[in-house]
Protein backbone atom coordinates (compact mmCIF):
# COMPACT_ATOMS: atom_id res chain seq x y z
CA UNK A 1 0.00 0.00 0.00
CA UNK A 2 1.37 3.38 -0.95
CA UNK A 3 1.96 5.74 1.99
CA UNK A 4 -0.07 8.32 0.10
CA UNK A 5 -3.26 6.33 -0.03
CA UNK A 6 -5.17 6.20 -3.24
CA UNK A 7 -6.05 9.55 -4.86
CA UNK A 8 -8.79 7.90 -6.88
CA UNK A 9 -10.58 6.66 -3.79
CA UNK A 10 -10.35 9.28 -1.00
CA UNK A 11 -9.95 8.13 2.57
CA UNK A 12 -13.20 7.08 4.12
CA UNK A 13 -14.39 7.67 7.66
CA UNK A 14 -14.21 4.88 10.20
CA UNK A 15 -17.91 4.13 9.86
CA UNK A 16 -17.89 3.70 6.11
CA UNK A 17 -14.80 1.75 5.25
CA UNK A 18 -14.58 1.28 1.54
CA UNK A 19 -13.31 -2.27 1.40
CA UNK A 20 -13.81 -2.56 -2.33
CA UNK A 21 -11.53 0.34 -3.18
CA UNK A 22 -8.71 -0.86 -5.42
CA UNK A 23 -5.33 -0.96 -3.78
CA UNK A 24 -3.23 2.04 -4.76
CA UNK A 25 -0.25 0.14 -6.02
CA UNK A 26 0.11 -3.62 -6.44
CA UNK A 27 2.74 -5.57 -4.57
CA UNK A 28 6.10 -5.31 -6.33
CA UNK A 29 7.06 -8.19 -8.55
CA UNK A 30 9.16 -10.70 -6.68
CA UNK A 31 11.63 -11.34 -9.43
CA UNK A 32 13.90 -8.42 -10.17
CA UNK A 33 16.19 -8.89 -13.13
CA UNK A 34 19.31 -6.90 -12.26
CA UNK A 35 21.03 -7.80 -15.49
CA UNK A 36 18.51 -5.58 -17.29
CA UNK A 37 20.83 -2.60 -16.80
CA UNK A 38 23.84 -2.95 -19.04
CA UNK A 39 27.44 -2.16 -18.20
CA UNK A 40 29.00 0.99 -19.68
CA UNK A 41 32.61 2.13 -19.73
CA UNK A 42 33.17 5.80 -18.99
CA UNK A 43 35.83 8.06 -20.52
CA UNK A 44 36.33 11.57 -19.14
CA UNK A 45 38.29 14.41 -20.69
CA UNK A 46 39.67 16.72 -18.05
CA UNK A 47 39.53 20.47 -18.40
CA UNK A 48 43.24 20.50 -19.20
CA UNK A 49 42.47 19.66 -22.81
CA UNK A 50 43.96 16.19 -22.93
CA UNK A 51 42.37 13.13 -24.48
CA UNK A 52 39.52 11.18 -22.96
CA UNK A 53 40.79 8.83 -20.27
CA UNK A 54 39.05 5.72 -18.96
CA UNK A 55 37.57 6.59 -15.58
CA UNK A 56 35.59 3.49 -14.68
CA UNK A 57 32.32 1.77 -15.42
CA UNK A 58 28.68 1.95 -14.37
CA UNK A 59 25.25 0.46 -14.96
CA UNK A 60 22.57 2.28 -16.94
CA UNK A 61 19.44 1.35 -18.88
CA UNK A 62 20.48 3.29 -22.00
CA UNK A 63 23.07 5.70 -23.39
CA UNK A 64 21.32 8.88 -22.27
CA UNK A 65 21.08 7.68 -18.68
CA UNK A 66 24.63 6.33 -18.83
CA UNK A 67 25.89 9.83 -19.62
CA UNK A 68 23.94 11.27 -16.70
CA UNK A 69 25.09 8.58 -14.32
CA UNK A 70 28.65 9.18 -15.47
CA UNK A 71 28.26 12.87 -14.74
CA UNK A 72 27.07 12.06 -11.23
CA UNK A 73 29.70 9.41 -10.54
CA UNK A 74 32.84 10.68 -12.24
CA UNK A 75 32.65 14.48 -12.47
CA UNK A 76 31.48 15.36 -8.95
CA UNK A 77 34.69 17.23 -8.22
CA UNK A 78 34.96 19.22 -11.40
CA UNK A 79 37.09 16.56 -13.08
CA UNK A 80 35.92 16.96 -16.61
CA UNK A 81 34.49 18.91 -19.51
CA UNK A 82 33.48 15.99 -21.71
CA UNK A 83 32.29 12.43 -21.18
CA UNK A 84 32.10 9.42 -23.48
CA UNK A 85 30.18 6.30 -22.58
CA UNK A 86 30.62 3.04 -24.47
CA UNK A 87 28.70 -0.21 -23.96
CA UNK A 88 31.20 -2.50 -22.26
CA UNK A 89 30.51 -5.36 -24.66
CA UNK A 90 31.33 -3.11 -27.63
CA UNK A 91 34.95 -3.00 -26.54
CA UNK A 92 37.25 -5.63 -28.01
CA UNK A 93 40.12 -6.23 -25.61
CA UNK A 94 43.47 -7.93 -26.00
CA UNK A 95 43.80 -11.29 -24.34
CA UNK A 96 45.66 -10.97 -21.02
CA UNK A 97 47.06 -14.51 -21.45
CA UNK A 98 48.81 -13.73 -24.73
CA UNK A 99 51.06 -11.18 -23.06
CA UNK A 100 54.24 -12.72 -24.39
CA UNK A 101 53.50 -12.74 -28.10
CA UNK A 102 51.45 -9.58 -27.97
CA UNK A 103 53.51 -7.18 -25.88
CA UNK A 104 56.99 -8.57 -25.30
CA UNK A 105 58.21 -8.81 -28.88
CA UNK A 106 59.33 -5.13 -29.02
CA UNK A 107 61.68 -5.76 -26.12
CA UNK A 108 65.30 -5.51 -27.11
CA UNK A 109 64.45 -3.78 -30.38
CA UNK A 110 66.03 -0.54 -29.36
CA UNK A 111 66.45 0.48 -33.01
CA UNK A 112 62.76 1.38 -32.85
CA UNK A 113 63.68 4.27 -30.57
CA UNK A 114 65.13 7.48 -31.90
CA UNK A 115 67.85 7.38 -29.25
CA UNK A 116 69.38 4.30 -30.95
CA UNK A 117 70.76 6.40 -33.75
CA UNK A 118 73.72 8.73 -33.60
CA UNK A 119 73.02 12.33 -34.45
CA UNK A 120 74.32 13.34 -37.85
CA UNK A 121 76.76 16.22 -37.96
CA UNK A 122 75.30 19.64 -38.53
CA UNK A 123 71.64 18.77 -38.05
CA UNK A 124 70.01 21.44 -35.93
CA UNK A 125 67.02 21.23 -33.59
CA UNK A 126 67.31 17.55 -32.69
Amino acid sequence: MSPHGNPDAPASTATEINRDAPKASPAPQEHHDRSAWGLWEVFVRSSRGLSHVHAGSLHAPDAAMALRNARDLYTRRNEGVSIWVVPADAIAASDPDSKGSFFESPQGKDYRHATYYTKSEGVKHL
Binding site: G5, P26, H59
Partner: protein, 307 residues
Protein backbone atom coordinates in the same frame (compact mmCIF):
# COMPACT_ATOMS: atom_id res chain seq x y z
CA UNK B 1 48.39 15.21 -14.75
CA UNK B 2 50.75 16.94 -17.15
CA UNK B 3 54.34 16.49 -16.05
CA UNK B 4 55.51 19.63 -17.81
CA UNK B 5 53.42 21.70 -15.47
CA UNK B 6 55.02 22.02 -12.05
CA UNK B 7 53.65 25.28 -10.74
CA UNK B 8 53.54 24.64 -6.97
CA UNK B 9 50.15 26.29 -6.65
CA UNK B 10 48.49 23.76 -8.91
CA UNK B 11 50.56 20.66 -8.27
CA UNK B 12 48.40 17.95 -6.81
CA UNK B 13 45.12 19.55 -7.73
CA UNK B 14 45.59 20.50 -11.36
CA UNK B 15 42.76 22.72 -12.46
CA UNK B 16 40.28 21.11 -10.12
CA UNK B 17 38.70 23.80 -8.02
CA UNK B 18 38.45 22.93 -4.36
CA UNK B 19 36.48 26.03 -3.55
CA UNK B 20 38.76 26.71 -0.59
CA UNK B 21 40.24 29.79 -2.18
CA UNK B 22 36.92 31.59 -1.90
CA UNK B 23 36.85 31.62 1.89
CA UNK B 24 39.04 34.66 2.31
CA UNK B 25 38.02 38.08 3.46
CA UNK B 26 37.62 39.25 -0.14
CA UNK B 27 34.74 36.84 -0.70
CA UNK B 28 31.59 38.44 -2.00
CA UNK B 29 28.13 37.09 -2.59
CA UNK B 30 28.09 38.73 -5.98
CA UNK B 31 31.42 37.46 -7.24
CA UNK B 32 30.66 34.40 -9.33
CA UNK B 33 33.45 32.64 -11.17
CA UNK B 34 33.23 29.25 -12.88
CA UNK B 35 35.45 27.29 -10.49
CA UNK B 36 34.69 29.28 -7.40
CA UNK B 37 30.95 29.49 -6.89
CA UNK B 38 29.23 31.16 -3.97
CA UNK B 39 29.21 29.07 -0.82
CA UNK B 40 27.05 29.36 2.30
CA UNK B 41 30.24 30.13 4.24
CA UNK B 42 30.77 33.22 2.09
CA UNK B 43 27.29 34.46 2.96
CA UNK B 44 27.87 33.72 6.65
CA UNK B 45 31.06 35.77 6.49
CA UNK B 46 29.25 38.69 4.90
CA UNK B 47 26.56 38.45 7.54
CA UNK B 48 29.11 38.38 10.39
CA UNK B 49 31.03 41.33 9.06
CA UNK B 50 27.84 43.28 8.50
CA UNK B 51 28.26 43.53 4.72
CA UNK B 52 24.74 42.24 4.08
CA UNK B 53 21.59 42.39 6.16
CA UNK B 54 18.25 41.45 4.62
CA UNK B 55 15.06 43.35 5.35
CA UNK B 56 12.41 41.52 7.34
CA UNK B 57 10.46 40.77 4.15
CA UNK B 58 13.50 39.41 2.33
CA UNK B 59 14.45 37.30 5.34
CA UNK B 60 10.99 35.74 5.46
CA UNK B 61 11.17 35.10 1.71
CA UNK B 62 14.60 33.48 2.04
CA UNK B 63 13.25 31.40 4.92
CA UNK B 64 10.48 30.07 2.69
CA UNK B 65 12.83 29.07 -0.12
CA UNK B 66 15.37 27.69 2.33
CA UNK B 67 12.76 25.55 4.09
CA UNK B 68 11.54 24.18 0.76
CA UNK B 69 15.05 23.08 -0.12
CA UNK B 70 15.86 21.78 3.37
CA UNK B 71 12.80 19.55 3.64
CA UNK B 72 13.32 18.22 0.14
CA UNK B 73 16.98 17.47 0.91
CA UNK B 74 15.94 15.52 3.99
CA UNK B 75 13.33 13.59 2.02
CA UNK B 76 15.70 12.73 -0.82
CA UNK B 77 18.46 11.78 1.60
CA UNK B 78 16.24 8.94 2.75
CA UNK B 79 16.83 7.25 -0.62
CA UNK B 80 20.53 6.81 0.07
CA UNK B 81 21.20 3.06 0.17
CA UNK B 82 17.58 2.41 -0.84
CA UNK B 83 17.38 3.42 -4.53
CA UNK B 84 16.67 0.78 -7.19
CA UNK B 85 20.27 0.87 -8.45
CA UNK B 86 23.55 2.12 -7.03
CA UNK B 87 23.87 4.70 -9.81
CA UNK B 88 20.43 6.11 -9.07
CA UNK B 89 21.22 6.10 -5.37
CA UNK B 90 24.09 8.47 -6.08
CA UNK B 91 22.03 10.60 -8.45
CA UNK B 92 19.34 11.17 -5.83
CA UNK B 93 21.99 11.76 -3.17
CA UNK B 94 23.62 14.38 -5.41
CA UNK B 95 20.32 16.15 -5.89
CA UNK B 96 19.70 16.05 -2.14
CA UNK B 97 23.10 17.61 -1.49
CA UNK B 98 22.45 20.35 -4.05
CA UNK B 99 19.20 21.15 -2.27
CA UNK B 100 20.95 21.15 1.09
CA UNK B 101 23.44 23.64 -0.29
CA UNK B 102 20.63 25.95 -1.42
CA UNK B 103 18.95 25.57 1.98
CA UNK B 104 22.16 26.51 3.79
CA UNK B 105 22.59 29.65 1.70
CA UNK B 106 18.99 30.80 2.05
CA UNK B 107 18.79 30.02 5.77
CA UNK B 108 22.11 31.67 6.53
CA UNK B 109 20.88 34.78 4.78
CA UNK B 110 17.45 34.66 6.45
CA UNK B 111 19.07 34.28 9.86
CA UNK B 112 20.95 37.54 9.38
CA UNK B 113 17.76 39.46 10.12
CA UNK B 114 16.83 37.36 13.16
CA UNK B 115 18.12 36.88 16.69
CA UNK B 116 17.76 33.97 19.09
CA UNK B 117 16.02 34.38 22.45
CA UNK B 118 19.39 35.02 24.13
CA UNK B 119 20.15 37.82 21.69
CA UNK B 120 22.72 35.93 19.63
CA UNK B 121 22.57 35.92 15.83
CA UNK B 122 20.54 33.13 14.26
CA UNK B 123 22.62 30.67 12.29
CA UNK B 124 21.51 28.19 9.65
CA UNK B 125 21.72 25.46 12.30
CA UNK B 126 19.51 27.41 14.72
CA UNK B 127 16.91 27.68 11.97
CA UNK B 128 17.16 24.08 10.81
CA UNK B 129 17.36 22.31 14.16
CA UNK B 130 15.65 24.49 16.72
CA UNK B 131 12.41 25.58 15.12
CA UNK B 132 9.17 23.76 15.64
CA UNK B 133 6.84 22.40 13.00
CA UNK B 134 4.56 25.45 12.79
CA UNK B 135 7.60 27.70 12.31
CA UNK B 136 8.60 26.00 9.07
CA UNK B 137 7.57 27.84 5.91
CA UNK B 138 7.92 25.13 3.27
CA UNK B 139 4.97 24.33 1.04
CA UNK B 140 3.42 20.94 1.55
CA UNK B 141 4.64 19.33 -1.66
CA UNK B 142 8.19 19.14 -0.32
CA UNK B 143 7.25 17.10 2.76
CA UNK B 144 5.18 14.53 0.86
CA UNK B 145 6.44 10.97 1.45
CA UNK B 146 8.91 9.46 -0.99
CA UNK B 147 6.51 6.62 -1.78
CA UNK B 148 7.93 4.37 -4.45
CA UNK B 149 10.55 5.53 -6.93
CA UNK B 150 7.90 6.82 -9.33
CA UNK B 151 6.29 8.96 -6.62
CA UNK B 152 9.67 10.51 -5.81
CA UNK B 153 10.27 11.17 -9.50
CA UNK B 154 6.82 12.76 -9.75
CA UNK B 155 7.65 15.07 -6.83
CA UNK B 156 11.04 15.86 -8.40
CA UNK B 157 9.37 16.55 -11.72
CA UNK B 158 7.12 19.23 -10.23
CA UNK B 159 9.71 20.66 -7.85
CA UNK B 160 12.57 20.90 -10.34
CA UNK B 161 10.53 22.73 -12.97
CA UNK B 162 9.16 25.10 -10.32
CA UNK B 163 12.58 25.79 -8.80
CA UNK B 164 14.18 26.20 -12.21
CA UNK B 165 11.65 28.85 -13.24
CA UNK B 166 11.82 30.55 -9.84
CA UNK B 167 15.61 30.71 -9.61
CA UNK B 168 15.96 31.79 -13.22
CA UNK B 169 13.82 34.82 -12.49
CA UNK B 170 15.41 35.38 -9.09
CA UNK B 171 18.83 35.87 -10.71
CA UNK B 172 17.47 39.31 -11.68
CA UNK B 173 16.49 40.15 -8.11
CA UNK B 174 17.39 43.62 -6.87
CA UNK B 175 18.68 41.89 -3.74
CA UNK B 176 22.23 40.94 -4.67
CA UNK B 177 22.53 38.02 -2.28
CA UNK B 178 19.28 36.42 -3.42
CA UNK B 179 20.37 36.92 -7.03
CA UNK B 180 23.75 35.32 -6.31
CA UNK B 181 22.24 32.30 -4.55
CA UNK B 182 19.81 31.86 -7.42
CA UNK B 183 22.55 32.15 -10.04
CA UNK B 184 24.36 29.19 -8.50
CA UNK B 185 21.21 27.20 -7.81
CA UNK B 186 19.62 27.58 -11.23
CA UNK B 187 22.36 25.55 -12.94
CA UNK B 188 21.90 22.76 -10.44
CA UNK B 189 18.11 22.57 -10.58
CA UNK B 190 18.28 22.68 -14.37
CA UNK B 191 20.04 19.33 -14.12
CA UNK B 192 17.45 18.07 -11.61
CA UNK B 193 14.84 18.99 -14.18
CA UNK B 194 16.57 16.92 -16.81
CA UNK B 195 16.97 13.99 -14.41
CA UNK B 196 13.30 13.88 -13.49
CA UNK B 197 12.13 14.37 -17.08
CA UNK B 198 14.31 11.48 -18.25
CA UNK B 199 12.74 9.24 -15.65
CA UNK B 200 9.17 10.37 -16.30
CA UNK B 201 9.69 9.43 -19.94
CA UNK B 202 11.25 6.08 -19.11
CA UNK B 203 8.79 5.04 -16.44
CA UNK B 204 5.83 6.11 -18.56
CA UNK B 205 7.21 4.35 -21.62
CA UNK B 206 8.59 1.32 -19.79
CA UNK B 207 6.50 -1.60 -18.66
CA UNK B 208 2.81 -1.60 -17.86
CA UNK B 209 3.77 -1.68 -14.19
CA UNK B 210 6.16 1.28 -14.38
CA UNK B 211 3.63 3.32 -16.32
CA UNK B 212 0.92 2.60 -13.75
CA UNK B 213 3.21 3.68 -10.96
CA UNK B 214 4.24 6.85 -12.78
CA UNK B 215 0.61 7.82 -13.27
CA UNK B 216 -0.12 7.05 -9.64
CA UNK B 217 2.90 9.06 -8.49
CA UNK B 218 1.83 12.11 -10.48
CA UNK B 219 -1.70 11.86 -9.12
CA UNK B 220 -0.48 11.72 -5.53
CA UNK B 221 1.73 14.79 -5.93
CA UNK B 222 -0.45 16.94 -8.15
CA UNK B 223 -2.87 18.11 -5.42
CA UNK B 224 0.07 20.06 -3.95
CA UNK B 225 1.03 21.84 -7.18
CA UNK B 226 -1.41 24.72 -6.76
CA UNK B 227 0.13 25.87 -3.48
CA UNK B 228 3.47 26.51 -5.21
CA UNK B 229 1.96 29.28 -7.30
CA UNK B 230 -0.12 31.07 -4.69
CA UNK B 231 0.63 34.78 -4.17
CA UNK B 232 0.27 36.54 -0.86
CA UNK B 233 1.01 39.99 0.59
CA UNK B 234 4.68 39.20 1.08
CA UNK B 235 5.39 37.94 -2.44
CA UNK B 236 3.36 40.81 -3.86
CA UNK B 237 5.40 43.43 -1.96
CA UNK B 238 8.67 41.78 -2.96
CA UNK B 239 7.63 41.33 -6.58
CA UNK B 240 6.73 45.02 -6.82
CA UNK B 241 10.09 45.95 -5.32
CA UNK B 242 11.84 43.67 -7.82
CA UNK B 243 13.43 41.61 -5.06
CA UNK B 244 11.17 38.57 -5.27
CA UNK B 245 9.07 36.70 -7.81
CA UNK B 246 5.28 36.51 -7.76
CA UNK B 247 4.62 32.74 -7.68
CA UNK B 248 1.54 33.08 -9.89
CA UNK B 249 3.68 34.56 -12.67
CA UNK B 250 5.52 31.21 -12.98
CA UNK B 251 2.41 29.13 -13.54
CA UNK B 252 2.11 29.58 -17.27
CA UNK B 253 5.69 28.50 -17.92
CA UNK B 254 5.28 25.62 -15.50
CA UNK B 255 2.21 24.36 -17.30
CA UNK B 256 4.01 24.64 -20.62
CA UNK B 257 7.25 22.90 -19.56
CA UNK B 258 5.54 20.13 -17.59
CA UNK B 259 2.93 19.75 -20.33
CA UNK B 260 5.59 19.20 -22.98
CA UNK B 261 7.20 16.33 -21.07
CA UNK B 262 3.86 14.79 -20.09
CA UNK B 263 2.72 14.96 -23.71
CA UNK B 264 5.92 13.28 -24.87
CA UNK B 265 5.37 10.58 -22.26
CA UNK B 266 1.75 10.31 -23.43
CA UNK B 267 0.53 11.13 -19.94
CA UNK B 268 -2.30 13.44 -19.00
CA UNK B 269 -2.02 16.32 -16.58
CA UNK B 270 -3.61 14.76 -13.48
CA UNK B 271 -7.12 15.94 -12.79
CA UNK B 272 -7.22 15.82 -9.00
CA UNK B 273 -8.65 18.21 -6.41
CA UNK B 274 -6.16 20.65 -4.90
CA UNK B 275 -4.96 20.24 -1.31
CA UNK B 276 -5.76 23.19 0.99
CA UNK B 277 -2.08 24.03 1.51
CA UNK B 278 -0.93 26.63 4.01
CA UNK B 279 2.69 25.56 4.45
CA UNK B 280 3.89 29.15 4.01
CA UNK B 281 2.02 30.00 7.23
CA UNK B 282 3.13 26.95 9.20
CA UNK B 283 0.19 24.70 8.37
CA UNK B 284 1.65 21.37 7.38
CA UNK B 285 0.46 17.91 6.49
CA UNK B 286 0.94 15.17 9.06
CA UNK B 287 4.26 14.18 7.48
CA UNK B 288 6.44 17.15 8.43
CA UNK B 289 6.52 16.36 12.14
CA UNK B 290 8.12 12.98 11.49
CA UNK B 291 10.72 14.50 9.18
CA UNK B 292 11.66 17.10 11.77
CA UNK B 293 11.84 14.51 14.55
CA UNK B 294 14.40 12.55 12.58
CA UNK B 295 16.27 15.59 11.30
CA UNK B 296 16.48 17.45 14.60
CA UNK B 297 16.88 14.74 17.22
CA UNK B 298 20.67 14.65 17.26
CA UNK B 299 21.12 18.42 17.43
CA UNK B 300 18.55 18.67 20.21
CA UNK B 301 19.95 15.76 22.23
CA UNK B 302 23.45 17.19 22.04
CA UNK B 303 23.18 20.96 21.51
CA UNK B 304 26.36 22.44 20.09
CA UNK B 305 27.92 19.03 19.47
CA UNK B 306 30.45 18.83 16.68
CA UNK B 307 32.25 15.92 15.09
Amino acid sequence: MSTAHTNPETTGHGDISTGVAGGDSNASATRITPGNALRPEDIALEVRTGLVKPSEDIAEYALRLGDDALILAQRLGHWISRAPELEEDIALGNIALDQLGHARSFLTYAGAAMTNDDGSARSEDDLAYFRREHEFRSVQLFEQPNGDFAATIARQFVVSIYQYLLYRRLTESTDETLAAIAAKAVKEVDYHRDHSAQWVLRLAGGTEESRKRMIHGLRTMWPYVGELFRDDDLTQRLAEAGAGVAPSSLREDFDRLSGEILAEAELEVPDVPAAPGGGRYGKHSEHLGYILAEMQVLAREHPGASW
